[in-house]
């Protein structure tokens, strides 16, 4: 029983599969085995085996060669993991003073080993936050998630203004660069010149012009807003 962890007690491996599925299925598509294998860095037969187990548990809809999708129960279980993960990240930054760009890996481990009692204590100490340090919404105890209307930064047209709402926490190096550039949740920016053919774009943050390859901002999600006043001149 070494792996025993939280109330409903799925193994860490099972929880990781559910999370991967959640992130990959996006707006309700069936996720192919190979994609899960790539995302989890595990060989394909391992995926097949685990999907069968999760199917038997009633957490995932799956048939041989048919792809996989979370069931209602699977989605609920995923929300519990996500809540733990995001509360832990917030906690590590706010209370333990760890760096924004460091906390993802820690949370990746801890999310599987916190009791409900601890999670709620953390939530209480933090004052029931609604977003984690990367800007992702924290699911409620009931598993509901605040819906938002986010688009990838690179999809903005020249002159469009937006607020950074979420950055992908998975890649430490990128996080560090973004942080230097001021590309953090809450930052206001405006898209400058785009050269789609070359994959190069200019972004204005706090009146500083930043040049970057489109690849370099993959994982930054923004919310569109009315363009800056200066752009509306006579």
């Amino acid at each position: 029983m070494v792996g025993m962890t939280n109330s409903t007690s799925l193994s860490p491996a099972r929880e990781d599969y559910l999370k991967a599925l959640y992130h990959l299925e996006g707006d309700s598509r069936r996720v192919p085995t190979t994609e899960l294998a790539r995302s989890l860095e595990v060989r394909k037969p391992s995926i097949t085996a685990m999907l069968r187990r999760l199917h038997d548990d009633g957490l995932v809809a799956w048939e041989p060669r048919g792809g996989a999708q979370l069931t209602r129960r699977g989605r609920a279980a995923t929300m519990r993991v996500l809540r733990r993960h995001r509360l832990v990240e917030t906690f590590l930054v706010e209370v333990l003073g760890l760096d924004w760009s460091d906390v993802h890996d820690e949370a990746e481990v801890l999310e599987h080993h916190l009791s409900d009692r601890m999670v709620e204590a953390i939530d209480r100490v933090l004052g029931h936050p609604t977003e984690d340090p990367h800007g992702s919404p924290i699911p409620s105890t009931t598993g509901s998630l605040a819906a938002r209307d986010l688009v990838p930064l690179a999809s903005l047209g020249t002159g469009e203004a937006a607020i950074v709402r979420k950055v992908d926490g998975r890649y430490r190096k990128r996080l560090l660069r973004w942080k230097e550039l001021g590309l953090v949740p809450g930052a206001r920016l405006e898209m400058g010149e785009k050269r789609d053919d070359e994959g190069i774009l200019h972004v204005r943050i706090d009146d500083v012009d930043v040049l970057t390859g489109g690849r370099g901002v993959e994982g930054i999600w923004v919310e569109r807003r009315a363009p800056a006043v200066s752009e509306l001149g006579p």
Copy 2:
């Protein structure tokens, strides 16, 4: 790699065996298989198998039928676990506001899953404490442990005065009762009348006389001190 945890990365099971061995061997004796089995609530063949693995790892001195004992390296590894455990307990009480009597089980899980970076962050936030909430000393980063001269409460003679220094955190119910009685680390007390034949003893705490069976104070460790002044009258 699901079980991957902290820097040196022993599995949770291995760390639990080391801890049990540490607690049982006391002042350097060889611990029999059966005792470990009882303490870990695991069958004897599992103990034999694990001792062999730990022996192969160079953490435990063991030969068939010879009992087991931590090596120097095993002891060092144990100190790292103990440090994590006790810092976590302190943290749960001081920062998360969990109850004194609740934290042991949480810490039992978390001690296996905290990175060095997190442990040191916790240590920093707590201001480098030297004792956990149950009064046990917290090993330093180098693995050294403050030595103290503790005796079981029940070993005091009538009239002897002492300070509670440590309570065994493993049994929630006892902890709760001790807490009610004021038998917490730091409490000053004096042994009253003892009836060893009946296993009954009286303890005076804050001038209140508490009657208890000797069994009921197993796990309370005290430091002897000069008897109270009132006892030295003309």
